[in-house]
Symmetry: C2
Subunit: 154 residues, 2 copies
Amino acid sequence: MTQRMPLQPALQRALDRAVAEAEKSWSEGGIPIGSALVSSDGIIVAVGHNRRVQDHDPTAHAEMVCFRAAGRRRDWSALTLVSTLSPCHMCSGTAMLYRLRQVVIGENRSFQGAEEWMQQAGIELTFADDERCVALMRRLLEERPDLWAEDIGE
Amino acid sequence: MTQRMPLQPALQRALDRAVAEAEKSWSEGGIPIGSALVSSDGIIVAVGHNRRVQDHDPTAHAEMVCFRAAGRRRDWSALTLVSTLSPCHMCSGTAMLYRLRQVVIGENRSFQGAEEWMQQAGIELTFADDERCVALMRRLLEERPDLWAEDIGE
């Protein structure tokens, strides 16, 4: 169930960065998913891309890399997570652990993560339904379905 | 709601390792929570302890460090996660992403994570209600309540 919403400029910039991160990962031979964390005043405090292949790390989804890069802090609930793809249970659980209020989802046509959980926890989801994000996943699914299956534990 | 269950020897050994990991973390100035991943034939394939303080990493809960240490693999559903404390939403979400079938919880008196979610996803929870695990958290809560609050996003 996708309801496309126009993004605020700061969130659009963050999604653009997340897309660039995803492309960077693909160029490295990795999984093309990217994320950013944005403060309430529109500053991008961290970016990241999936690093499963690059670091041999099964927890290195883009969102987790982004949370890691944001470091130790106490202002999580003021941050918005922006991701090119609907976050899985691990990444959604992390957003819930840190009581984020908003998550921006680049697309959820290729994969629908734990959206219902996040909504039940009071996280506002914003669906960008971005064609670039859809194209990133289409290429992955066509060219490296094995990597994708591994990434979501299938 | 804690229903204490006797552990199979392989799982008891894994819990003992997890407790030792937790003590190691405390001796390093870190958060005393430890985990292990055990194969269906009782082999401990990875251990880990919370590394928030040690690595300045907000995703480094013991369970996540353990998943990371287990590396890229496709046999997740045959592994059991053993942790000294009831896993939070992030760590429970990871157990769900990788379709684990069993999680052993050292104690859930100090903190109750996303147990209901895991159960709804069909994960069998085993509650050890281990006094050593309770003591580890009691000491943390008495001596470093700030660190604990940070670790669970409070």
